[in-house]
């Protein structure tokens, strides 16, 4: 089956799958140099890694990007010139409260659908969409329910694998599932993680903590809301749009107060005692939230700024996490 690669949580995997294509929400690998662009300075390492991945990707038949942040929007300009695959830029509004913004998102899904039909070579059916949504929703619920039975890294990896490989991934398939260990409960909050950042879960555990809330884009925060089974039978596409556009809270939304409401609920219900704030150098969206979060939350916040280089991953980040946990214990 032909594969479509993407990273943005506002791209519904179900929509791609319903068009007979294989959605793969990829987890990127950091590139330490400028990679496929002429200069790295000023470019978010995640964007750099995305450009690199899309330009070297061999198995996919198309790339989907969104306008959620300006750097990704500009990365699209680079990819249409450098990437051999067809690339689609989906307009995801930053505002969300108006009916017009919600309709724009829905219209963009339909436009994405036309792009997918061209790639798949066949049209899609509403029944197929309902069936795919049901399948994804079931596995998603299963994954969420498994949180208490997996280590935080396993849990994060199951979510990532679900995005990358689809509903074939079930938590009971997680390799060597082991029960979570006790430790100072922490949350990790921020944009998407790259492969190298998954080590953070282990570092936290080795240092006497445990991530009980993965509020990164690649974690729970980037998962859509559960579908309303009654509503989706009548109008699956509308329900899909509601669950994604209305259900995922992000720093890029204007205003983004719903992100804080969501965080408030999750931090309290999971007894979080400290926050690891994960952001990339040159990412304005998340960087600007750091101090707001610090002002807002009554918990210690550790700022981990990722430059995408090995030094950050191998030395600076582990040392800082260890020191943070020492302080909390």
């Amino acid at each position: 089956m032909k594969t479509i690669i993407y990273t943005c949580p506002y791209v519904p995997a179900e929509w791609i799958a319903a068009h007979g294509l294989r959605p793969s929400r990829i987890i990127l690998s950091a590139v330490s140099s400028a990679g496929s662009i002429t200069r790295a300075e000023g470019v978010c390492p995640y964007v750099r890694a995305f450009i690199d991945e899309a330009t070297t990707e061999k198995r996919a038949c198309g790339v989907v990007m969104t306008t959620v942040c300006d750097q990704m929007r500009r990365a699209f300009d680079i990819l249409v010139r450098k990437c051999n695959l067809p690339v689609f830029l989906m307009n995801v509004p930053n505002t969300w409260q108006s009916v017009a913004a919600q309709k724009l998102y829905l219209d963009e899904l339909k436009r994405l659908g036309r792009f997918l039909i061209q790639l798949a070579g066949k049209s899609f059916s509403q029944d197929k969409l309902s069936q795919v949504m049901l399948e994804y929703d079931t596995v998603r619920a299963c994954i969420l329910a498994a949180r208490g039975h997996l280590t935080s890294r396993q849990y994060a990896e199951v979510i990532a694998a679900f995005g990358r490989d689809g509903p074939g991934t079930r938590p009971d398939n997680a390799e060597g599932a082991r029960p979570p260990i006790a430790g100072v409960p922490l949350a990790i909050v921020g944009g998407p993680l790259m492969k190298q950042s998954f080590d953070i879960f282990d570092i936290v555990e080795q240092s006497g903590g445990r991530i009980v809330l993965d509020a990164t884009e690649t974690g729970e925060r980037g998962m859509c809301a559960p579908f309303d089974r009654r509503r989706f039978r009548d109008d699956p596409l509308m329900e899909l749009a509601n669950a994604y556009f209305g259900g995922i809270q992000d720093a890029s939304r204007r205003p983004n107060n719903e992100l804080y409401k969501w965080l408030d609920h999750e931090l309290v219900s999971r007894g979080v005692r400290g926050i690891i704030f994960h952001r990339y150098l040159w990412c304005d969206m998340w960087h600007a939230e750091l101090w707001r979060l610090k002002d807002w939350v009554d918990l210690p916040v550790l700022d981990i700024d990722i430059g995408g280089d090995n030094e950050t991953y191998q030395h600076r980040t582990p040392n800082r996490i260890r020191a943070f946990l020492e302080m909390l214990q």
Binding site: D70, R74, R81, T95, S98, L104, D284, M285, W291, W296
Partner: protein, 460 residues
């Protein structure tokens, strides 16, 4: 002192001012010697060089008294609107009301330069977590906190969507500090797809009709908010009159640009041209006076061109400038190095295009929003740059990167490639922070190298 056009220092302007006064200079209420603004803390003025015309004096005085005008407007009972990020559209709507005055808090961008970092605005931004990895517009946060550079407006609007991350993030930080903001969405301009109706936009880009319709609905939302603030209804007639007035500004600017960029001898220096162009987006808080200021400037330029007089040598290298500079002194520097500006794209070319008067007014404004070069792809922007380079006969393109700006990191690559492929002219990228003093030798060397390259190519 002769009346020959030339660039003079602030000190020289004081003498020139006395001379002009003796000769019966007529000045508006905000007139006076330029050097008095240094007392307000605008120390950078001491290091700039200015055009020596009375028209330039009026332009500078107009620019440097905006804050007073805003306070005066409020004292007279006008309500203030801070129109953030969208460049050139919401003010047209706001000035269609007789009891609203609009301004761009974004203009705080230049305060660190003008006050040579003394205002402490960047430090305040730092303390709020908005450090130098953001564009200099972060000074706006400090200006809100101190309340010292503009009155806090009754209504704040901010366009988001297809905008830079810097502004969007900073405005959200401001919102988080308790300033309510009316957010409105501008979608990324895309090409029409097969079967879609497209609209040709002012300036040459096109967009699908559905995007124009979407922006129209957003502008209607803004119009309602402005009506509530003004306590007045904005009917089509009033808005059309507002558009006409904005077009008067744009028409003068089009003539000014055409003459200044194409005349054999450069009739007006780059710095004054930059300030004049900026009037198109914010009217410096007085639309009527903007028209008068530009009328006088155009008159001066016409006189000089007709007399074959200019401020720079005839062999000055003709350079097209992309992006505004955070340090105004760099415009002087380019001229010192033997260059002259022949075309600009300061992020708001669309605000220099005439707003269609044969459409319903909200539709016309929606088209202008989508005509913004920053709302679409960098390739679109590059195409517009190429078209203007041809139109003004520039010999090179200089892209001045804005430190921290989310668009600058990647767009330069695309613009350079397209310009070089289509026009085969040199492209130089430099980065300009708010105060360039410490890097002046490097900037000078790079600008001189560009000028030399241009001159060497002439001999080919």
């Amino acid at each position: 002192m002769s009346d020959m056009p030339r660039q003079i220092t602030l000190e020289e302007w004081d003498q020139r001012y006395e001379q002009l006064q003796k000769a019966g200079l007529h000045q508006p209420s905000y007139g006076g010697p330029l050097s008095r603004h240094v007392g307000d803390g605008d120390k950078r003025l001491l290091k700039l060089r200015y055009d020596n015309s009375a028209a330039a004096l009026r332009l500078w005085n107009f620019l440097l008294t905006e804050e007073d005008r805003l306070h005066e407007a409020r004292n007279k009972g006008k309500r203030l609107v801070g129109t953030m990020k969208d460049l050139g559209t919401v003010p047209v709507m706001a000035y269609s009301f007789d009891n609203l005055a609009a301004f761009y808090p974004d203009g705080a961008w230049w305060i660190p330069c003008m006050m040579e970092l003394d205002a402490g605005l960047l430090e305040i931004a730092d303390s709020l977590g908005i450090d130098e990895s953001f564009c200099p517009v972060r000074a706006m946060l400090g200006a809100f906190v101190t309340g010292a550079h503009f009155p806090i407006p009754e209504l704040l609007t901010c366009s988001v969507g297809a905008t830079c991350d810097d502004f969007s993030a900073i405005a959200q930080r401001l919102n988080g500090l308790g300033y309510p903001i009316l957010w409105w969405e501008v979608p990324h301009r895309r090409s029409g797809e097969p079967g879609e109706t497209t609209v040709k936009l002012p300036g040459g880009f096109s967009a699908p009709k559905c995007q124009v319709e979407f922006v129209k609905s957003e502008l209607e939302r803004l119009k309602t908010a402005l009506e509530e603030l003004a306590g007045q209804h904005l009917d089509e007639e009033k808005l059309s009159a507002g558009i006409k007035k904005a077009n008067q500004v744009r028409t003068y600017l089009a003539e000014i640009r055409q003459l200044a960029f194409t005349a054999e001898l450069c009739p007006m220096p780059a710095l004054e041209m930059l300030i004049a162009e900026m009037l198109a987006i914010h009217f410096c808080s007085d639309q009527d006076e903007t028209i008068e200021v530009l009328r006088e400037l155009l008159g001066e330029i016409k006189t000089r061109v007709q007399a074959g007089k200019g401020v720079l040598g005839a062999d000055a290298a003709r350079i097209f400038w992309v992006n505004p500079v955070a340090d105004l002194q760099v415009m002087n520097l380019l001229e010192d190095c033997g260059g002259r500006i022949c075309g600009t794209e300061y992020l708001f070319s669309h605000a220099l295009d005439t707003i269609p008067e044969d459409l319903r007014p909200v539709e016309a404004l929606a088209q202008m929003v989508l005509a913004d070069p920053m709302v679409g792809s960098s390739a679109d922007r590059a195409e517009r740059i190429c078209a203007d380079v041809r139109r003004f006969g520039a010999e090179a393109v200089l892209i001045s990167r804005i430190p921290g700006a989310s668009h600058c990191a990647l767009e330069g690559e695309v613009i350079s490639e397209i310009v070089q492929t289509e026009l085969d002219i040199p492209v130089l990228e430099i980065e300009v922070p708010p105060v360039t003093d410490s890097m002046r030798p490097t900037l000078r060397t790079r600008a001189e190298a560009l000028v030399e390259t241009i001159k060497a190519r002439r001999k080919r």
